[in-house]
């Protein structure tokens, strides 16, 4: 009744092909962006920035990147943690070597470095598929972490092997380091998340996205109709790693401020992000955000409810939290194997008919 397409006429192909064909969706999208950019920065607290929104946005970027590879191109990767580490260490090396260059440029360059590394490890995907590819990307994960532990050049020979982010400013405002204000951290991450989501959305509905999906659906058929698997797979690895690299760079520079390879970017991180993609919905930009929200926000919420609200002992709460999150994952996957994005799609379909379903 309220959510409907009646009266929403399209007069051009351009209008018909837009991301949000319904006027209500468009309004909601712009309203959300307006709130995110114009309202939230003024009310955000340190706790909300550091523990809730910044990790959510960074994980959403990483999930977006992985979604391009796994969801759109059908190449399973378990190397996400390793690629995030590449982004983090690249930022660290670049910003300590060229402290005068803006950190935002370094973050993008770090994404570029990760894209190159990702393409290198993506080469085997031309020959191997499925589980075998997963295993070879697992090798990338272990190799990269080992490398960052082993070669002291990467961590500037610090005694503990930790990398620590120095203070950096953008237009005179501190964006990294301990004295960074909550809005600054939040806005940097939000900016990157919005731009990359926009990029991902437009790439995936253009030529390259269609090639990726053709490869995903049936690689031999795709090859016969003229899709070059070499370029399709490698561009997918490059774009995916680029985003994951930026997520890793922000994770280290803006969110944590200090990191060590095996603790911050271990195999657990790869699994966590893969879960986000699967739970959020393979092949969906919205799903990446939904999955990240589910995996990042839910544990924090549960912790606050169980320990803060109900006064449970912390260990009991931590165990119950694991069980609840685990049970919910199983529940969601049984009820809707295509993830939260599909759930959202169905809700919208039903809303269009409401209150008069056939």
């Amino acid at each position: 009744m309220i959510y409907r397409e009646a009266g929403d006429f399209k007069a051009s192909y351009r209008a018909d092909g837009q991301t949000f064909p319904l006027r209500l969706d468009r309004t909601a999208y712009w309203a959300l962006l307006a709130v995110a950019f114009l309202v939230v920065p003024f009310v955000i607290t340190d706790y909300w920035a550091t523990s809730v929104l910044v990790p959510f946005l960074i994980y959403a970027i990483a999930a977006l990147g992985l979604n391009i590879l796994v969801g759109y191109t059908g190449q399973v990767s378990l190397g996400t943690g390793g690629f995030m580490a590449v982004g983090a260490y690249a930022t660290y090396k670049l910003t300590t070597m060229f402290p005068d260059v803006s950190i935002l440029i370094h973050v993008v360059l770090a994404g570029g470095v990760t894209a190159l590394v990702g393409m290198l490890f993506g080469l085997p995907s031309l020959r191997i598929k499925g589980f075998y590819l997963a295993v070879s990307t697992l090798a990338a994960q272990f190799f990269l972490i080992w490398l960052f532990n082993k070669v002291p050049w990467f961590y500037n020979y610090s005694a503990s092997g930790q990398i620590t982010m120095p203070e950096r400013t953008v237009f005179g405002v501190l964006v990294t380091g301990p004295s960074t204000s909550a809005p600054a951290k939040y806005l940097v991450c939000l900016g990157f998340a919005v731009i990359l989501a926009w990029l991902a959305r437009n790439l995936t509905r253009g030529t390259s996205g269609r090639k990726w999906m053709a490869i995903r659906d049936m690689d031999i058929a795709a090859e016969i109709i003229g899709v070059n698997p070499l370029t399709a797979k490698l561009t997918s690895f490059a774009v995916s790693s680029f985003m994951i690299g930026i997520a890793g760079a922000l994770f280290f520079a803006v969110y944590l401020g200090a990191a060590e390879a095996s603790e911050s970017f271990g195999i657990n991180k790869s699994f966590l992000i893969l879960f986000m993609v699967i739970i959020g919905g393979l092949g969906s930009v919205f799903g990446s955000f939904a999955g990240a929200a589910f995996m990042v926000l839910l544990p924090v919420l549960l912790k606050n409810v169980l320990v803060g609200g109900m006064g449970w002992p912390t260990d009991l709460a931590a165990h119950i939290e694991l069980m609840i999150v685990g049970a919910l994952i199983v529940f969601f996957l049984i009820v809707e194997p295509h993830g939260l994005a599909q759930l959202w799609r169905l809700t919208k379909e039903k809303l269009r008919l409401w209150p008069f379903p056939h």
């Binding site: 005694a159 120095p166 912790k303 803060g308 609200g309 931590a318």
Partner: protein, 427 residues
């Protein structure tokens, strides 16, 4: 979801807000994950000491000490979340019990002006108070530990380690990497060869490292392990029949839970310690009367007197002493973090004071100052007796080698000062 979340967080914040008359020491603990075995005991000791002070003396200077727990699972992201969640005006001090989290918090506490106390762990060069204004790591740090272990071995070998082979098996993280630089310098000074064997966290898997030990036959093995890594290492050492008396762990590798799984094979294993162990102190009589018997013991009191529990007690004791010193200096029982920091810098715990607290000979005398945030850094060795299931202290406190450590600390803290733009303040 967003709304409910906001409501929950608001509720949590209200619930966590302490009554204004209390002193707040947020307790970042871990009772889950691969390090829970040790983390549980430490957290219980930490809580029980303050429970005793609150129950018996009504707090310190009439102020009750609150230690609301926050679960970190030894994970830096959760640690940062816990730090932010508890970062109210009233929060005085953090003791995160994790070197990784400590590295995250060192710059943050300087910006937020909170005290960070890392007894026996964390960044070693924080001993230099000239640079690390808000961080304290008394009574001993990792480089002290490394040096004491080597000094002990020197004693064992009639003053020379020339031509000996020593292997360091370490947790491949900021924690485990801390002693490497010191041990490298010491190996040059004393002429032993050092083999470094990293074990990837959490550390159940260390077959290949022990295979290498079996092949290279080092004279001694030194371990920097934590959580499941300790148990696995001691079990592996037993499997290859490495002589246990030549196997020395850092203080974090010296708990009952670490040696018990290996059973009789762990007999003779040695570890460093900077505190006494067991319940043979008058302190435990009070603890029994005021905390354990009324059923107020943290975690049900099952670990009372264990080695790691004792370290938790010791950490709480030093914090308690610093609080009372700070109250004395500030002239008010209601102190803030900056006053507590001053209290730490004026801290002076003598042997007599330890006896007054019911723990004679439990720890070394501690005297801190503006420059020295780490104390004397002495440690002693304990040895495991598998038959009786107890640790026994086998040496007195050993002084670390200042000749090697001081330049290293100066160098590392100068590097940090340059990186973070800090000017020395004590001079």
């Amino acid at each position: 979801m967003k709304l409910r979340f906001a409501a929950a967080v608001a509720a949590a914040m209200m619930a966590a807000g302490p009554a204004m008359a209390d002193l707040l020491v947020p307790h970042l603990s871990y009772r889950t994950g691969p390090y829970a075995g040790n983390g549980n005991q430490y957290a219980d000791g930490f809580n029980d000491y303050f429970t005793l002070i609150n129950e018996r003396d009504g707090g310190i200077g009439g102020e009750k000490i609150l230690t609301p727990e926050c679960e970190t699972a030894y994970n830096t992201e959760k640690g940062v979340e816990c730090y932010e969640a508890n970062k109210s005006e009233a929060a005085l001090l953090y003791n995160p019990m994790s070197t990784g989290i400590t590295y995250q918090l060192i710059p943050k506490v300087a910006a937020d002006e909170k005290v960070l106390y890392t007894p026996g762990y964390g960044r070693t060069s924080a001993k230099n108070g000239d640079v690390f204004k808000w961080v304290f790591n008394a009574p001993a740090n990792y480089w002290d530990g490394a040096s004491v272990a080597i000094k002990y071995l020197l004693d064992e070998n009639g003053g020379s380690l020339e031509g000996k082979k020593i292997a360091l098996i370490y947790h491949n993280s900021a924690y485990g990497k801390e002693p490497i630089r010191t041990l490298q310098d010491l190996s040059e000074k004393h002429g032993f060869t050092l083999t470094e064997l990293p074990v990837d966290p959490p550390g159940q898997e260390q077959k290949s490292q022990w295979l290498q030990i079996r092949r290279e036959k080092p004279d001694y093995v030194i371990m920097w392990g934590w959580g499941v890594m300790n148990q696995a290492a001691i079990q592996e050492a037993a499997n290859i029949r490495f002589p246990m008396e030549n196997f020395i762990g850092i203080w974090w590798s010296g708990g009952e839970v670490d040696v018990q799984p290996a059973g009789a094979a762990a007999d003779g294993y040695k570890s460093l310690t900077f505190n006494g162990v067991g319940t043979d102190y008058p302190f435990y009589d009070d603890l029994k009367t005021h905390v354990i018997d009324p059923g107020k013991a943290s975690g049900g009191g099952q670990f009372v007197g264990s080695a790691v529990y004792s370290r938790g007690v010791y950490a709480a004791l030093i914090i308690g002493e610093a609080i009372s010193k700070a109250q004395e200096l500030a002239g008010t029982p209601q102190i803030n973090a900056a006053q507590l920091r001053d209290g730490f810098e004026a801290l002076d715990i003598s042997e007599e004071r330890m006896a007054e607290l019911g723990l004679p000979g439990f720890g070394q005398p501690i005297q801190l100052s503006c420059e020295n945030h780490g104390g004397a850094g002495m440690a002693r060795l304990q040895q495991w007796d598998a038959d009786t299931g107890t640790w026994s202290l086998i040496t007195d406190f050993i002084q670390p080698d200042a000749e090697v450590l001081d330049p290293l600390i100066a160098e590392d803290s100068a590097a940090y000062a340059a990186e973070a733009g800090i000017t020395p303040r004590c001079g």
